[in-house]
């Protein structure tokens, strides 16, 4: 269909973005003081040993040449070798990517599950007690530092009540789900607050909109007016909000992954930055960037699907 034509050419527009991200990451990580070789060798490092390692990983080459190699590798679908783990960065990422994706997807899903009913209740009782309650909850929801919230959830649900695992990541589907409940809840409590506010605002507008009046005027009961007319029309801003927040969300998973010991990319990234594992930082940054771009792409497709007026 004509409206979906952008699916064909949009990916080309991502290339400069990806290129830009790669360049910035490359420069940024190398500006960080500290030396991966020394981190690797620890306290007992000698200058000779350090030089040896630097040579092995090509860190003694001029920067532009290193970047050139990086691009060349990238073109071949490689991202270099981790200094800390001594394996291919792509392989390393492959082992860590699934938990992060699952975490984000589940969190987003949960947030939507929380946000839509809350926003609906608030918007339909605008100015009433439920509305104020929802607004109170959602403003508080953004105020809690996630790591603190996480800890409280663990103490309550895992230690005191013992109904969900404290931390970690399971093996099979059900197990994973059980392990993901609290982490997702932590993220969702934050994210759904933002979503609820946005959804509520657009629902309030749509509930009073002409199209809702028109639907009522042809005798539709309030439930149909809400679910078939108001909700679809309120979704687009929320979808875009989610898409814009995805970068922030990915950042948020780092803390959550650390608290809940989820073996995802966020943890990998933090450890890589602290140990100056340049290749891994670059690799993860690229993957995150692609992820963000992909999510925005999906959001575009979703927007076009929801709202037939939108052309991209």
């Amino acid at each position: 269909m004509h409206r979906y034509k952008f699916i064909l050419y949009r990916p080309l527009q991502f290339l400069p973005v990806i290129f830009g991200v790669s360049l910035i990451t490359f420069i940024l990580v190398r500006l960080i003081p500290g030396d991966p070789a020394r981190v690797l060798l620890g306290a007992r490092s000698t200058p000779a040993a350090i030089a040896n390692i630097r040579a092995q990983y090509g860190l003694d080459e001029p920067l532009w040449l290193q970047y050139f190699y990086f691009l060349k590798n990238l073109a071949n679908g490689e991202m270099g070798k981790s200094i800390l783990y001594k394996i291919d960065v792509l392989k390393l990422i492959a082992t860590r990517i699934e938990p992060t994706i699952t975490l984000i997807v589940c969190s987003v899903f949960l947030s939507i599950l929380i946000a839509i009913p809350l926003a609906a209740i608030a918007a339909r009782n605008r100015g009433g007690i439920p509305d104020h309650a929802v607004r109170l909850i959602s403003t508080m929801g953004i105020g809690f530092p996630p790591f603190w919230l996480a800890l409280m959830l663990i103490i309550l649900f895992s230690v005191k009540l013992g109904i969900v695992p404290v931390s970690g990541y399971g093996e099979n589907f059900g197990d994973k789900l059980a392990h993901l409940i609290l982490p997702c809840l932590t993220i969702a409590l934050c994210l759904s607050s933002v979503l609820t506010r946005s959804l509520r605002a657009s629902m309030v507008v749509e509930l009073q909109s002409d199209l809702a009046t028109a639907a009522r005027a042809r005798g539709m009961p309030e439930s149909i007016v809400f679910w078939r007319h108001v909700l679809p029309n309120s979704l687009v801003p929320a979808v875009n909000l989610l898409a814009v927040n995805i970068g922030w969300l990915i950042g948020g998973t780092v803390v959550v992954e650390t608290v809940f010991a989820i073996p995802g990319m966020g943890q990998l990234l933090v450890r890589a930055i602290f140990s100056r594992d340049y290749m891994v930082v670059q690799g993860v940054a690229m993957v995150f960037a692609c992820g963000t771009v992909l999510v925005n792409f999906l959001a575009d497709i979703l927007t076009v699907t929801i709202d037939p007026r939108v052309k991209l």
Binding site: I32, P145, F147, I155, V270, I273, A285
Partner: protein
């Protein structure tokens, strides 16, 4: 027309009265914290960094309403002094992105064309760039502390403002009064900054309040990763992060600074909501 108009002005006023509650509540909370920050030397019962080996981990009591931490420092005093830093974080962490974003967004939206394309691509890159990599790298480059944090926030934060303003600009520059201004021979700078910007900025002002909350939380997350302000300064995020080891033995170390963040965030949100309603901004 005129009757209808006078009447709707009245509707506006009565709404304002209703919504003023939100605004006033927000202002009250923020005002309280600002007062705390300014009057800290007068109202804090103790020196926020004075250690007292005999008074370690004292639970809340009459002398120490919020208890003491593992160095025997008075938590209440630390929270009061911490207000200075946290308000500063919120303010500077928002002010620079706001300024940069506003100017760039205005220019980009107003001129359009190649300038706009360049800015939009830049924004794409920044949005796609993992924020944490940037934040951690900058902190690693410049050393942990507020300056690095501000720089990181400014490098990334402007994007939201630029986008908001740009969208507004795209609409406003086609408005009749903008066209009128062009036809009257006004200069671009005058049209952009005197005529369009004041009408475009309300949304950003409101957003900046929720942004302040995000900035505070980012600060707290950085503290959690151990890269917050330099000790022994009292900052709420750091206090929460440091107090975590005592979460089950001395809950008061984390609870009170944690609550301070929540309440301040709540104040910002309320203020932002109130402002939004008064300024007539749709979220």
């Amino acid at each position: 027309m005129s009757t209808g108009h006078a009447f709707s002005a009245k509707i506006g006023w009565s709404r304002w009265l209703g919504q003023r509650l939100t605004l006033v509540a927000g202002m009250a909370i923020l005002g309280l914290f600002i007062f705390m920050a300014i009057a800290a030397p007068m109202i804090a019962p103790y020196d926020p960094i004075a250690q007292n080996g005999d008074l370690r981990l004292v639970p809340p009591s009459f002398l120490h309403p919020f208890g003491t931490d593992n160095f025997g420092r008075d938590i209440l005093s630390r929270i009061i002094w911490g207000a200075r830093i946290d308000l500063q974080i919120a303010f500077i962490g928002v002010a620079f992105p706001f300024l940069i974003g506003t100017v760039l967004g205005t220019i980009s939206g107003y001129f359009g064309g190649i300038i706009d394309t360049v800015f939009m691509r830049l924004i794409d890159i920044i949005l796609a760039f993992p924020f944490l990599v940037l934040m951690l790298s900058i902190i690693a480059i410049l050393g942990p502390g507020l300056l690095s944090f501000y720089i990181a926030m400014a490098l990334v934060g402007w994007v939201s403002y630029a986008r908001l303003i740009r969208t507004q600009m795209l609409v406003l520059k086609n408005s009749d009064y903008a066209v009128a201004a062009v036809s009257l021979g006004f200069s671009n700078a005058r049209i952009m900054f005197r005529h369009l910007l004041p009408n475009a900025i309300a949304g950003s002002v409101v957003f900046s309040m929720s942004d302040a909350v995000l900035v505070l939380l980012n600060g707290a997350a950085i503290s959690y990763l151990g890269l917050g302000v330099q000790p022994p300064l009292a900052e709420w995020g750091v206090m929460v992060a440091e107090g975590q080891s005592f979460i089950s033995t001395a809950w008061w170390i984390t609870l009170f600074p944690g609550l301070s963040i929540v309440v301040l965030a709540f104040g910002f949100s309320l203020f932002g909501d109130g402002l939004g309603e008064v300024l007539g901004v749709r979220e």
